[in-house]
């Protein structure tokens, strides 16, 4: 056979051919084996990856719900804003950059900082991805700049203007604590909110309604799949039909709108009335429903800045400033802080005494400017001489209540307080709530680890000592006094609506408890409270405004501020000043609203808090009349809750 005949000199090669064939076959078998793995075993994995490579899942933005007040005025909405970014690797530093800095009005410091950053990135290795990462140049550029940048797009290679809606609060600082603010979701939250559709960079409510009703306001972003790749010969629709899996598009669901019970005009009026005061809080509540008509915490802050409307830098600057402020602007003083109520607590002490038969309303005591109890002497605000219950409230005589406190148990004082809603959270549902404190014998024993002293009760009787309340609690308790003993659940949210205005859910008033209080006792106390502002000796008389029908009780709460040494003496003086209170209701005869005003370190309640309350109630009366006039004669079921 010729095929196997080898010539002598070729013989050396002969032994190799079989090995070579084996190597060739082996190598090709290895390649085919690898193909079996890639194409047959792992084929689905690679096909899925190939699809991911060409399919882009874009998000369709949703719009956050609008927050309105009880008359439909917008308190929080969205406005379009545009941010400018640059891609360092593509930016022309000679032409485009100077143009951009001029249009966006960057100041020299910003410009220098950005230039340094951009040049740093440009200097990186060509493969480094950071060269491609966009750098934020300026947030929220004005409309002229947007228009200019868009028309000069061709000259501005590497510059991008990206829309990013911003939360907008038309009333600024007014009611900021309750309406709320926004912030970016943080990393920890993303870990557990990821499956609810939150992504890095998303914004969420930080405080107030924005936070508590986040799940309603937020809405749901939509999704749209597209086939990427430009300049395709094929028709995009055909491509999409071929490569995209259903659903190809999910429409976004806009967030729910929320209507509040608040009236922004009343909040404005409170702000005006508190003008000149450094810090404080005020609450107005509808005594017939428990709906909150106005909430004010002072000093406030601009939620537009804090929510990022002016850029991240402005946010951190604002917070640095706010946290450093000794007046604690970020604290919601209506809900999140508890204060000693001072004399505003006296009506409750009186009711407890009357209910237990410890007080004879007609009996008089002799006030000589103080009360001796045990080894201590408790001072009164003045020398009132002979006072009965009525006058004791009208003139805010401490001696009368010290004497009552010496005969009543501290647990009884606490129990009537709890009946009226003190010492427990009201459940308003916005912002962290302070509980306040109704001290009991047990509490003192635990706290001080020594024998309980009767002096504690004496102090609690005038709303001092360890007793603390929040402004909101006090307003609701006074509403209960005004309406005959019904303690309502406070409400700020009136209804939830879809973006087209259909009401989805309305929140009817909810009663927390009805205090079993003797109506004759109550009317005694109420007539005394009327006397506070209408009788010559009344503590609120000086601050009254003719025509304003407001009954209530003043309070001057002593504070025990612990000031570290070497503090500015002026500041020390301020922080040791008394809190000024007024709590009341209007109209006195058939109450509709209750109002509480607290001026932190404001001094005497009659002199400082009463005029504020009077002015707010005056405005309220006027608003009510105006709105009635506007509605009549065909009085419909308007939205106003006055």
């Amino acid at each position: 056979m010729r095929l196997f005949v080898q010539r002598s000199d070729v013989g050396e090669f002969r032994r190799r051919y079989r090995w070579m064939v084996l190597i060739v076959v082996g190598a090709f078998m290895a390649l085919v084996g690898r193909l079996v793995l890639l194409q047959l075993v792992e084929g689905d994995v690679h096909r899925a990856q190939a699809r991911r490579n060409i399919v882009r899942e874009g998000f369709l933005a949703t719009t956050r719900g609008v927050i309105r007040d009880s008359l439909g005025r917008v308190l929080a909405a969205n406005r379009p804003a545009y941010n400018v970014y640059v891609t360092p690797s593509r930016l022309d530093m000679e032409k485009a950059w100077p143009l951009l800095t001029r249009v966006t009005h960057l100041d020299d410091a910003e410009k220098a900082a950005l230039e340094q950053k951009i040049n740093e990135r440009r200097g990186l290795d060509a493969k480094d991805r950071r060269r491609q990462q966009q750098i934020l140049v300026k947030v929220d550029i004005d409309r002229d700049a947007v228009a200019y940048l868009e028309t000069h797009e061709r000259e501005l290679e590497g510059v991008e203007v990206a829309p990013s809606p911003v939360r907008y609060y038309p009333y600024g600082a007014l009611g900021a604590h309750v309406i709320g603010t926004m912030r970016e979701v943080n990393r920890e939250e993303l870990a557990w909110l990821g499956d609810r559709g939150y992504r890095a960079g998303d914004r969420t409510g930080a405080i107030g309604i924005e936070r508590r009703w986040e799940s309603y306001l937020r809405g749901q972003r939509g999704m749209r799949k597209t086939v990427r790749g430009a300049g395709r010969r094929l028709d995009p629709e055909q491509l999409e039909a071929k490569y995209l899996e259903e659903p190809r598009r999910v429409e976004p669901i806009p967030g729910r709108d929320i209507s509040l019970t608040l009236d922004i005009e009343l909040i404005e009026s409170m702000e005006r009335a508190m003008h000149g005061q450094l810090a404080g809080a005020a609450v107005m509540v509808d005594v017939r429903t428990g709906r909150i008509l106005a909430l004010l915490s002072k000093p406030s802050f601009d939620p537009n800045v804090v929510s990022g409307g002016q850029g991240i830098k402005a946010v951190s600057e604002a917070y640095t400033r706010l946290y450093a402020d000794p007046l604690k602007p970020t604290l919601d003083k209506t809900i999140s802080a508890a204060y000693p109520p001072g004399s505003t607590y006296k009506p409750f002490t009186a009711l407890a005494g009357l209910a237990d038969g410890l007080v004879d309303p007609k009996a008089e005591i002799d006030c000589r400017g103080g009360f001796e109890y045990g080894k201590r002497y408790f001072r009164c605000t003045g020398v009132h001489r002979r006072v009965n219950l009525h006058n004791a409230i009208v003139q805010s005589c401490n001696t009368y209540f010290y004497e009552l406190g010496s005969r009543i148990s501290i647990d009884r004082l606490a129990s009537i307080g709890l009946d009226f809603g003190f010492g427990v959270r009201t459940g308003i549902g916005v912002n962290p709530e302070a509980r306040g404190r109704m001290p009991t014998r047990g509490w003192y024993t635990r706290r001080y680890k020594e024998a309980f002293r009767g002096g504690f009760t004496v102090l609690s009787a005038i709303g001092q000592g360890a007793t603390t309340v929040t402004v909101l609690q006090l307003a609701l308790a006074y509403a209960a006094l005004a309406n005959g003993g019904t303690v309502y659940q406070p409400q700020v949210v009136r209804s939830i609506e879809t973006s087209d205005g259909t009401v989805i859910q309305e929140f009817p008033p909810r009663v927390r408890r009805i205090v079993g209080v003797d109506q004759s006792h109550l009317s005694m106390v109420k007539s005394a409270m009327q006397g506070v502002t209408s009788e010559k000796h009344g503590t609120g008389y000086a601050g009254r405004i003719p025509g304003v029908d407001l009954a209530g009780k003043t309070g001057t709460a002593q504070v025990s501020h612990v000031t570290p040494r070497s503090v500015d003496p002026q500041r020390e003086w301020y922080f040791n000043r008394d809190h000024a209170w007024f709590a009341g209701y209007s109209p006195a005869a058939s109450p509709e609203i209750a109002i509480v005003v607290l001026i932190e370190h404001g001094g005497g309640g009659g002199k400082n808090a009463v005029p504020v309350a009077m002015r707010v109630v005056r405005d309220w009366q006027k608003l009510k009349e105006d709105r009635l006039a506007a509605r009549s004669p065909t009085a419909g079921s308007g939205k106003g809750n006055l």
């Binding site: 095929l3 080898q6 010539r7 000199d9 070729v10 050396e12 090669f13 002969r14 032994r15 190799r16 051919y17 070579m20 064939v21 060739v24 076959v25 190598a27 090709f28 290895a30 390649l31 085919v32 690898r34 193909l35 079996v36 890639l38 194409q39 047959l40 792992e42 084929g43 689905d44 994995v45 690679h46 096909r47 990856q49 190939a50 699809r51 490579n53 060409i54 493969k127 991805r129 990427r228 790749g229 300049g231 395709r232 010969r233 490569y243």
Partner: protein, 372 residues
């Protein structure tokens, strides 16, 4: 002198199985090149790329003519050309550094008129020729020692050093592997083989530190640790494997492979045509193509075993090894079995020098086959 196979049959007879296999590969290669470059049809800046299959056809025609020319001269008279072409090749390789067009940092081309001539490609054939001549003349019977192998090693080393300097790691590898395959046909002392392997292993760290460029090292590290890098050097390999896997059993169809059509494959008409082919035609198509290559390689060994002198056998083995290592390196790289090295897929990758060289090589193989 025994009589020629040709004269015995009354004239040279064409090796039909080889011819059919080559024509099949050429056809598939053109079809695939069309698919690979079709994506550029509507790209204003690179629209010319969509027409390169036409110039590929020209090169195949040129290559075929040269192959016929090479096949028609008795290969035994070619050994006289060996040394001349070898030194000519070395000069042109050196010339690359003086006059050259640099593409992506590598100087490989010499412009002649409007053509870009790549000397390192033609050197592949020249090297086979020179080594075959050496093996033919070296009739030693007893096993060779390392000392005996110094001459063929030097013959290989000079062009290897020159192309490494371009830098072109892929071509250097092909030179070494092809030469190694040819030398492996001789008997070598076992001890010498072991010494060679051991010293080669010892030289690896040196090569790593002093010979390889950073991008070459990156390719190897990203091959060894693909999870560390899916964007840089590992990106190409990753996209290629995705494309191949996406082909599954029967492929996405002609010009339907998404990895190619959406331009996720890098260098799809030069370095990764196999990925395009696998994506379009699936496992079935890939097996047919690899079968054709495999057949051609085994057929070259068969031709060698039939050759009537050492020169012809060495030529056949050289051409077969050249084909084999191109396919193995290119496909191995595309399927992720080997690091990314720029080696063409014979008759699939676009490139005039590459196509013409391969055709001339196959002409030599045909030559030997016809004169056994």
């Amino acid at each position: 002198m025994p009589r020629d196979h040709i004269t015995a049959r009354g004239g040279p007879s064409i090796d039909m199985p080889l011819l059919i296999a080559i024509m099949a590969i050429i056809t598939l290669g053109l079809v695939n090149l069309y698919s690979a470059t079709s994506v550029y049809a509507d790209d204003a800046q690179r629209a010319t790329l969509a027409d390169i299959y036409v110039s590929q056809i020209y090169w195949i025609v040129v290559g075929t003519l040269l192959a016929i020319l090479v096949a028609s001269i008795d290969y035994r008279s070619l050994d006289r050309l060996a040394m001349v072409t070898y030194f000519g090749g070395l000069v042109s390789l050196a010339l690359v550094f003086v006059v050259s067009r640099s593409i992506r940092g590598a100087a490989r081309w010499i412009a002649i008129g409007s053509f870009n001539f790549q000397p390192s490609e033609f050197m592949k054939i020249v090297l086979i020729l020179v080594l075959a001549r050496y093996l033919h003349n070296d009739n030693k019977v007893e096993p060779r020692t390392l000392l005996d192998l110094v001459r063929p090693a030097l013959i290989t080393a000079v062009p290897v050093v020159l192309v490494m300097a371009q830098p072109d790691l892929g071509t250097a590898l092909i030179y070494m592997l092809t030469a190694g395959s040819m030398i492996a046909m001789t008997r070598i002392r076992t001890r010498s083989v072991l010494t060679f392997v051991a010293s080669g292993a010892a030289a690896l760290p040196l090569a790593w530190n002093f010979v390889l460029h950073q991008y070459q090292k990156d390719r190897i590290t990203s091959f060894l640790h693909p999870e560390n890098d899916t964007t840089g050097a590992g990106w190409h390999a990753f996209q290629s494997q995705t494309a191949i896997g996406n082909g599954q059993l029967f492929g996405e169809g002609f010009m339907q492979g998404t990895q190619n059509q959406f331009r996720l494959l890098p260098d799809q008409f030069s370095d990764f045509p196999f990925a395009v082919f696998c994506e379009d035609w699936g496992f079935a198509g890939a097996v047919v193509l690899l079968g054709l290559y495999c057949f051609a390689c085994i057929w070259a060994i068969h031709v060698a075993s039939q050759a009537k002198d050492r020169f012809g056998a060495a030529l056949a083995i050289g051409v077969g090894a050249n084909l084999f290592w191109h396919v193995v390196l290119n496909v191995g790289m595309a399927v992720g079995l080997l690091p990314v090295v720029g080696v063409t897929l014979p008759l699939f990758s676009y490139g005039g020098s590459s196509v013409v060289t391969m055709m001339v090589g196959l002409g030599l193989l045909m030559n030997v086959s016809m004169r056994r």
